[in-house]
Symmetry: C2
Subunit: 373 residues, 2 copies
C-alpha cells in the first residue's frame, strides 16, 4: 500500500485524537499498528502524535525487517523490557510531550503491560492515560477497496478450508483431526495464518466456544467447524455444521430455523441498517420458532484485521469498551452467525462473511450451507 494511504489514515486518526482529547497514542496491538504504519508485531510499540509523527520501538533484531515493511519517522531497536521503557521515554522527550494525555489500548493491554507502558521511567509524570479503543473501532470500520480484496481472498481460502474439513469428516476422526484438514488446506491455499479453529462434535456442539478436543466423531453426530484464515493480514469468518451420517428430524428442524434466520438477516444487510436491527431480525425468527432462549452471545460482529472487531452489537460493544455503532456505512465487513442455536443436546450454526454495500449484502463466503455432507 502506498505512503499516501497511510498519510490519509494518520490524518483521520489525528482528527479523532483531537476530538477525544488525546495528544499522543502509545500502541502495542499489532492490528492497530499495522493499520497506521504497515507493520505490527509482538513486543513492539508505536507512538503516534496528533501531528501525525510515527515513532516505532521494536526488538533490535527486527529493525531491518520493520524498515522494509513500515512507514514511520523514527525507529529504535531495544534489547529488553528496560530498553523498551527507555525508548518510550526518549520519544516522549523527543516529541516535547511533558504533559497531556496518552491514549492506550484498554481492550488489549493486560494490567502488567499497562504497568510497563506507563512505567515512571517511560511516561512523564504529568501525562495522564485514556482508552483509545473507540478511535480504532471508528478508524478501521469502513474498509477500502484493497482491504475488501484481502478479505475476499481470505473468504475463498475459507471456502477451500471448510470443503477440505467437511469432505474429510467421518466417524472415528477426532475433532482435532478435522481441524487439521481445514488448517492444512488454508495454509496451502494462500493463508499466511489463521485465528483459532473451532471444531466441536456431538453434545459439544451445544457449547459456546467449541475448541477441538480428542473426542472422536460418532455416527449421527453433528459437527460444527468454524475457521478464520488470514490473507495479507485480513481475516474471513466461516462456520458450517454438518452431520456425520443421517441427521434426525429434530436436528434438521433446528438447522432449518437457524439457516432461515441467518439468511433473512443477511438479506437485510445494507448501508444505513443498524447492528441492533439486524440482530433483531435474527432473534425474531428464532424466537417465533420457539427457540428464544437458545441463542448465546452476539450474532454479528465485524471482521477485518481481527477476525472479531467493531462493529459489535450494542450490549457486547459496551463491555468491550466500544461505543454503540451508528447505522452501518457501506464497506463495513461483518460476519453473520457468530453464535449458534443451542437447544441442549446439540447445536447448529452457519456463519458467513458479508460486505455491507449501498445496494445490499455482498456475501464473500460461498461454501453451500447443508447439514448433509
Amino acid at each position: 500500500m502506498g505512503n499516501i494511504q497511510y498519510k490519509d489514515r494518520l490524518q483521520k486518526c489525528s482528527e479523532m485524537m483531537k476530538a477525544a482529547g488525546i495528544d499522543v497514542l502509545l500502541l502495542a496491538k499489532p492490528a492497530n499498528m499495522i493499520y497506521l504504519t504497515g507493520d505490527g508485531r509482538l513486543c513492539s510499540f508505536a507512538m503516534i502524535t496528533q501531528s501525525g509523527k510515527v515513532a516505532l520501538g521494536v526488538p533490535k533484531t527486527d529493525v531491518e525487517d520493520v524498515k522494509n515493511l513500515a512507514h514511520f519517522d523514527q525507529i529504535i531497536g531495544f534489547e529488553d523490557e528496560v530498553g523498551m521503557i527507555h525508548s518510550i521515554a526518549h520519544f516522549f522527550d523527543d516529541f516535547g510531550i511533558r504533559q497531556g494525555v496518552v491514549g492506550l489500548e484498554y481492550t488489549f493491554l493486560t494490567q502488567s503491560m499497562m504497568g510497563m507502558l506507563t512505567h515512571p521511567h517511560g511516561k512523564p509524570e504529568k501525562v495522564t492515560v485514556k482508552d483509545c479503543t473507540p478511535i480504532f473501532s471508528q478508524l478501521r470500520l469502513v474498509k477500502d477497496a484493497e482491504e475488501i480484496e484481502h478479505i475476499r481472498t481470505a473468504a475463498k481460502v475459507a471456502d477451500a478450508g471448510i470443503k477440505a474439513a467437511v469432505e474429510a469428516m467421518k466417524p472415528g476422526l477426532t475433532e482435532s483431526q478435522i481441524a487439521a484438514e481445514a488448517e492444512y488446506t488454508m495454509r496451502q491455499s494462500g493463508a499466511e495464518e489463521f485465528y483459532r479453529t473451532y471444531v466441536s462434535s456431538g453434545p459439544r456442539t451445544n457449547i459456546a466456544h467449541g475448541l477441538p478436543t480428542m473426542r472422536k466423531v460418532q455416527p449421527g453426530d453433528l459437527v460444527m467447524i468454524d475457521i478464520h484464515p488470514i490473507v495479507d493480514g485480513y481475516g474471513a469468518d466461516l462456520c458450517r455444521t454438518v452431520c456425520a451420517g443421517k441427521q434426525t428430524a429434530e436436528q434438521q428442524a433446528a438447522y432449518d430455523i437457524y439457516l432461515k434466520a441467518q439468511q433473512a438477516t443477511i438479506t437485510k444487510v445494507k448501508a444505513g441498517v443498524g447492528m441492533a436491527e439486524l440482530e433483531e431480525i435474527f432473534q425474531e425468527i428464532v424466537k417465533d420458532a420457539g427457540h428464544g432462549g437458545h441463542i448465546f452471545g452476539p450474532l454479528i460482529h465485524g471482521t477485518g484485521l481481527e477476525f472479531e472487531e467493531a462493529p459489535l452489537p450494542p450490549g457486547h460493544a459496551f463491555f468491550h469498551g466500544e461505543k454503540e455503532s451508528a447505522p452501518l456505512p457501506a464497506n463495513v465487513v461483518i460476519a453473520v452467525g457468530n453464535c449458534g442455536l443451542y437447544p441442549g443436546d446439540f447445536g447448529v450454526r452457519v456463519e458467513d462473511t458479508v460486505v455491507v454495500t449501498e445496494k445490499g449484502p455482498l456475501v464473500l463466503t460461498n461454501y453451500p450451507p447443508r447439514l448433509e455432507k
Copy 2:
C-alpha cells in the same frame, strides 16, 4: 485426575492465599482454572475461597459440559456479560464476603476485563483487588507425575511435527506451507491443540518472533521452525533450524556455537540450580565466541499448561509480574533455547523441553539437532 489431587492443590492454594493476604480468587485465565478445577474455558470465571470452596460461572450453554469435566461446589450459567457480573455478585454474597481482598490475574486480564470483573454491580465496594499471578507461578511450578507424562507425550508429538516439517521443507514452499506440515502432523499424532507455530526463513530468521508469512524459501536459506503441541492441556516446546540446501561456513559456525551453548546449558540442568545461573552458562559460551550482542530475549522459560510460564529468568520475570525464582526444584519443566543467535543476516536456534530432576536433565524432545536436512 482424581478429586483428591484437586483438593490437595486447593489446600496449597489456600495457604498461599493466606500468606499473600488474599481472601478470594476471581480467575478468568483458562490455565489457572484448569489447574484448580479440571476445566477452564473462554468467557468463564472461577471463584476460590480461602477455605477451598469453588464456584464457577460459565456460559449457560456450557453448564452440562463443565459439570462433566470440573470439580466444584457451585455453578451458575449466565446469558451475557450482565449475567456474568450478577453471578459474581451472587457468589460474593453467598460466600459472605463484604470486605477484604480479591486476587485477580494481572498478567492475563486486559483493562476492559478488569473493569468487568470489578464492576460495582459485581464486586462489593469494600473489597479491594490484588495481583494473584505469583500464587499460580508458585503453585504450578513443580509438576506431578501425571503432568510430566502429558508433557512427555506432547514432546513426542513435537518430535513428529518437526520431522514432518523438516522433511517437507524445500525451496519454493512458503513459510506458511511448512507450518502446515508441522501442525497437520501434530493434530494427527495426538495433539488436541497447539500454540502459535513460528516458521521464518532467510533474513527473517534474524527476527525475534518469526511468525510464518507467504515468503517462499530460497535455496541456501536457513529455516527456523518452532512448535508447541498441546496434549491433555500440557505443552512441549521444540525448535529446530535447518538449511534449504548447503549451508555456508558462517551459518554452520553460528549454529555450532549456539548448539554448544544450548547443550552445555542443558547438561547443567539439575535440582538446586538457578535460572540465572543457567542463563549465564548459555550467555558465556555465546559471548566467548564473539556473539555477545547477538542474543535477544530470555533463553529459558518454564512450560506446562502454558507453553511459556514460570519459571522465567529474573529480568523477564519482573516485567511479567513474577518474583525471581528460587533455585529450581525437581520436576520443574523448562524449555532451553527460547531465543536465537541473531548475527544480522540470519539467525539460528535450537530449543528443547527438559525436566529438572535430582540427578540432572531429562530431555523430552529428541529430534536430532542438525543444520542439514
